[in-house]
Subunit: 140 residues, 2 copies
DNA sequence: CCGGATCCGTAGAGATACTG
DNA sequence: CAGTATCTCTACGGATCCGG
């Protein structure tokens, strides 16, 4: 077995984690799919495919199975997500937040809500920026 | 001129932004270098190279000039960062947070501090996870 | 059938070298 | 010093396979 991502990280980070441990966790939490997974799990526990669909609902062209699995593994390893694999057929795996994960998820959700709330301001800023940029090009 | 990143994004996002605008802003804010830039600028305004050095101090193997420029342009376009380019020789450009940027940066910093604080818990969780994983392999 | 693991192709992140 | 052009390489998605 190779487990390029999770275990691979475990061995590579023998040096990488040593230099700046918390930055990596921060990157996991703020990663593209990590953010969405945490927010979604804050609502309620989800099964794998449930999570995939839920994220696809928000992210338009949702997460691939591969990336979802990878993200979940990383978050599980960091102790933010709990994985409950029931040995039944068809297999059923439930994901939920740990106490630690809930703390992180709440912060992330707060940030997401802020972003959503401030969106109009951002849109205005962009328009101004783009117009200035366009004028500059026209002037040349 | 192409301006592959900033202006390129402006045209590509005619469709991309239309589907889910705020997710993109969230990604800018939580992006690898975006996080560090915001936190660093929360301290005080920085010049380009100052910023680069400051981030290199935290991130071990810091940000490349290209990525820093790109990140700053994105954040400027979103109205989070203010760019003050003084027409002198040698060129001097100061970056600072806007009001909007300060709000975002404070949230990001809070999250970063939380991560730092909870690092021991994460480390323990990882150890448990890795050991379980190792045992599973040994059993096979 | 579901939850992944693996292999491979591509686009975008990233470093390096160059310019004003 | 600040920023761009060019090249490299990794992260991500898609298809396929597998074990339960």
């Amino acid at each position: 077995m190779t487990v390029s991502t999770v275990t691979g990280a475990a061995s590579r980070t023998v040096s990488a984690e040593a230099m700046c441990p918390y930055r990596l966790v921060l990157e996991h939490v703020t990663s593209r799919w990590g953010v969405l997974v945490l927010i979604e799990l804050l609502e309620r526990p989800h099964r794998f495919s449930e999570l995939r669909r839920a994220i696809g609902r928000v992210s338009e062209k949702g997460v691939s199975e591969k990336m979802l699995a990878q993200t979940l593994q990383t978050l599980e390893r960091d102790g933010l997500v709990h994985r409950d694999a029931r040995p039944v057929i068809p297999p059923r795996v439930d994901y939920s937040l740990t106490g630690l994960g809930r703390e992180a998820a709440e912060q992330v959700r707060t940030l997401a809500e802020w972003t959503h709330r401030r969106m109009p301001d951002v849109a205005r800023a962009r328009q101004t920026y783009d117009e200035a940029r366009t004028d500059a090009v026209r002037a040349s």
